[in-house]
């Protein structure tokens, strides 16, 4: 696997989720039937990236029993496996043995991207028509006359019909939709201009006239469709990437029936009163009460608490909490629709989306632009009518005005810039959901951060490693490798010394720690009261995470101090945001002490601790009332309503599923510098959009008077339109050239972060 080391940025996103492989029942639930006993399972495999990977995976999977075939899609980093029978073949394990982390993801709902294929087909048809009509038009312009010209016009008219019907349909539908709801969008003047130009040219052709605008109407559609398709492809790519991230919410759970049988039920079918078996490493699917077992729970995604919580029977647990160390039997107290997750969705719907009132720049411009254009054309018509009384001439000139002002440049001005900007962000591991997100991000003046999982990684880090005896540390690391508890993983990350005694009979005591025997003595790694009380070393930590010790036969030989590790470059990101004149605040569900410490390290002045999810929404709404444009950055389930309420929102790839779906941006790498980078690119894109619109307006102020005076021929219209489009595209491409210092620095920091976090597992 020399060429296939997992170095891709996606590896990071998986780190938190690597804890458990999807169970067979879960895979079966997520697979879809192809009929005739054949089933297909789609897995996301983020680390495949070359021909070697494709071949290894496909041959290995095809060798498994009952597997019909496997096909890797390198672009989307997915594997489609077709298999037979009732038992799920062990393909996840097989992939794991090859060194590829595979996970299930939410299958796309509905049809597979119909819009994209419709757009591409439309581009193809419009391109074919535009090319052929342009050829015929060139011969007309260069002097074809009489019957030849008529023939050419007729052929052009025929070719234009499918293009207008098929490619133009997209614009006609959109324009009609807007008009029906009493709105104006950029598609209205396009639809009006194209259809009028075609009708008038047809009339000219029938009457053996010499000016026909078939080429203008079709090439206009062609240019605009290119912009629209690129825009769609970009968003689709972001959506696929976000969709391919591992699913964090539980898909179902094993239900223990009264008669002792066990069934795997999807979340939607779990009812209150059912007993659920939750293994270590699984997430709790619905709200419930523990009736058997004890364990440590990671609540960071749910409440924002950074320290794992130790629980025993009788305590209540919420949906979305990750069970870390011991198996639990939980009695469901609410169905999925009444559990914590659903509560968040309701809060999210109740809080009016911060973006509801936002109107895109293009729509705002076109609301002004379209009436002006149509009025100008009408006045031109009336003027020529009054001056000459020749209605045919007046009509021809008025339509020339419509064509020359048809917002080819304007229609491309905004999407082209956004496509280039989105591409830039994509290269840096930031996914943008849609173009308006960038417009909104460019306007923000306040950034609100969640603490656990956003500013910090939500994973503890060992801080006193250098003070601990290396021999003891090695033994602790060896023991810790057997546990999934965050503290254990932090200690296990310190492994790498050879020569420690061989461990025997390692066992984990949920809620307490790990016990092992080695060379005749009993070692315990865990909480102080359980592992042993008597201390041998001095200078033990009194930090918030204190209390984890290593003991030998009941005597403490080492103690470990942890802190919640800050996300890479968190401080630098805050500084850059401050430099960009954005004020930074922190909202957290964690305790005041934990928040204070982080705020101090990062230099954040304002923070509000111990907030409920609704409290976060209130904070954001208060800010919004004071006329602040708020950016929310958060990852937890408890942040989701706030992500929705904010003007614009960003979530890391490790966020809860609904958080990732709600946020406008998702960044896949560890570094928090993604936030200032996204802001920077969005602001630059905003500037280029304004420039492009200015270019389009300047073009119009020059071209429109010429058209009004009746000097525009189809040749001039074609040249003017193409020239302005090229100018706008060229200006947008300048974004590609901007040197962003932050971009070049970010990847190196990220890489090391990934290595470190991947290593322990």
């Amino acid at each position: 696997m020399s060429c296939c080391a997992p170095g891709a940025e996606m590896a990071l996103a998986l780190d938190r989720a690597t804890s458990v492989q999807p169970s067979n029942q879960e895979i079966k639930l997520a697979s879809r039937s192809l009929g005739d006993d054949l089933r297909q399972t789609d897995l996301s495999v983020p680390t495949v990236h070359c021909a070697g990977c494709i071949q290894t995976i496909e041959t290995a999977l095809a060798k498994l029993d009952r597997v019909e075939g496997a096909r890797v899609n390198l672009s989307t980093k997915r594997v489609a496996i077709r298999w037979r029978g009732n038992e799920v073949p062990p393909f996840v394990a097989a992939l794991g043995r090859l060194g590829y982390e595979a996970h299930l993801f939410d299958p796309e709902t509905g049809e597979k991207d119909k819009t994209l294929s419709e757009l591409i087909r439309a581009v193809a048809v419009a391109g074919f028509a535009a090319g052929n009509i342009m050829l015929l038009s060139v011969s007309v312009w260069s002097g074809a006359e009489g019957a030849t010209r008529d023939l050419f016009h007729w052929v052009s008219a025929l070719i234009a019909i499918p293009a207008l019907a098929f490619a133009g349909g997209i614009y006609f539908r959109s324009a009609w939709n807007a008009l029906r709801h009493g709105r104006m969008n950029m598609d209205v003047p396009i639809a009006v201009g194209v259809s009028l130009a075609y009708t008038m040219s047809l009339y000219e052709t029938i009457n053996h006239g010499d000016h026909a605008y078939f080429d203008a109407s079709v090439s206009l559609l062609f240019f605009l469709l290119i912009g629209r398709t690129l825009d769609h492809v970009m968003r689709e790519r972001a959506r696929t990437a976000v969709n391919g991230l591992s699913r964090l919410a539980a898909r179902g759970a094993i239900v223990l029936r009264d008669d002792g049988t066990r069934d795997y039920l999807p979340v939607g079918e779990i009812e209150p009163g059912m007993q659920l078996l939750i293994a270590a490493g699984e997430r709790i699917p619905v709200d419930g009460k523990i009736i058997r077992g004890s364990s440590d729970l990671d609540c960071s995604l749910v409440s924002g608490e950074s320290t794992p919580r130790t629980v025993t029977s009788g305590e209540a647990v919420q949906a979305g909490i990750l069970n870390l160390t011991g198996p639990l039997t939980v009695e469901a107290t609410g169905a999925a629709k009444d559990s914590f997750l659903a509560e968040m969705v309701r809060l999210m719907e109740a809080a009016e989306g911060g973006r509801a009132h936002y109107r895109r720049v293009a729509d705002r411009v076109s609301a002004l632009y379209a009436p002006v254009v149509h009025l100008t054309a009408f006045v031109t018509f009336a003027g020529w009518m009054a001056a000459t009384g020749d209605w045919h001439r007046a009509m021809t000139i008025a339509i020339a005005v419509l064509i020359i002002t048809c917002p080819c440049a304007l229609g491309l001005a905004v999407p082209i810039v956004q496509v280039v900007a989105a591409r830039r962000l994509f290269e840096n591991g930031i996914m943008v959901k849609d173009g308006s997100a960038m417009e909104r991000l460019a306007t923000i003046d306040t950034a609100v951060f969640d603490k656990t999982g956003t500013l910090t990684l939500g994973q503890p880090r060992l801080v006193n490693a250098s003070l601990v005896d290396p021999g003891m540390l090695a033994i602790a690391a060896e023991m810790a490798a057997h546990s999934r508890h965050p503290f254990s993983r932090a200690i296990a990350g310190m492994a790498g010394f050879a020569g420690q005694p061989k461990l025997e009979s390692v066992s984990e005591h949920p809620g307490f720690g790990i016990e092992a025997t080695a060379a005749g003595s009993t070692w315990r790694l865990g909480r102080r009261g359980w592992a042993g009380l008597k201390a041998r070393t001095v200078g033990e930590g009194k930090h918030s995470y204190g209390g984890t010790v290593l003991t030998k036969d009941g005597i403490i030989v080492a103690s470990f101090v942890f802190e919640d590790a800050l996300r890479a470059d968190a401080r630098a990101a805050i500084v850059q945001l401050n430099d960009a004149r954005v004020s930074v605040e922190m909202l957290s569900g964690d305790t005041a002490a934990a928040c204070g410490e982080v705020a101090e390290t990062l230099g954040i002045d304002d923070f509000v601790p111990a907030l409920l999810p609704s409290g976060k929404v209130e904070c954001i709404e208060t800010l919004a009332k004071d006329d602040h444009k708020v950016l929310m950055v958060g990852d937890g389930l408890n942040d989701t309503p706030a992500l929705n309420a904010a003007h614009v929102s960003i979530a890391p790839a490790t966020a809860a599923d609904i958080g990732r779906n709600t946020a406008d941006f998702v960044f896949l790498r560890e570094s928090l510098l993604a936030v200032p980078l996204a802001l920077d690119v969005s602001r630059k894109a905003g500037r280029l959009i304004r420039q492009n619109i200015a270019i389009a307006i300047v073009y119009n102020t020059i071209a429109v008077p010429i058209a009004i005076l009746g000097h525009v021929t189809p040749l001039i219209a074609a040249i003017a339109m193409s020239a302005s489009s090229l100018l706008v595209i060229g200006n947008a491409l300048r974004l590609q050239g901007f040197v962003l210092a932050a971009v070049t620095r970010a990847p190196s920091a990220t890489r090391s972060g990934i290595r470190a976090s991947v290593h322990p597992s």
Binding site: A51, G69, S117, N132
Partner: protein, 51 residues
């Protein structure tokens, strides 16, 4: 003029051929995994897994 009678249909036919070729390729899923297609040509056909 007479040359045009067969030249124009010939030109249009060739154009339409290209267009239908593209639409066929699109429909048969050849644009679904462009990166994969680029890499797959490096795989030896002998051990190519059955599809």
């Amino acid at each position: 003029m007479t040359t045009l009678v067969y030249l124009i249909p010939a030109a249009l036919f060739l154009g339409a051929l290209g267009l239908s070729g593209f639409l066929w390729a699109l429909r048969s899923g050849q644009y679904e995994d462009l990166d994969g297609a680029a890499e797959r040509m490096l795989i030896d056909p002998d051990d190519k897994p059955e599809r």
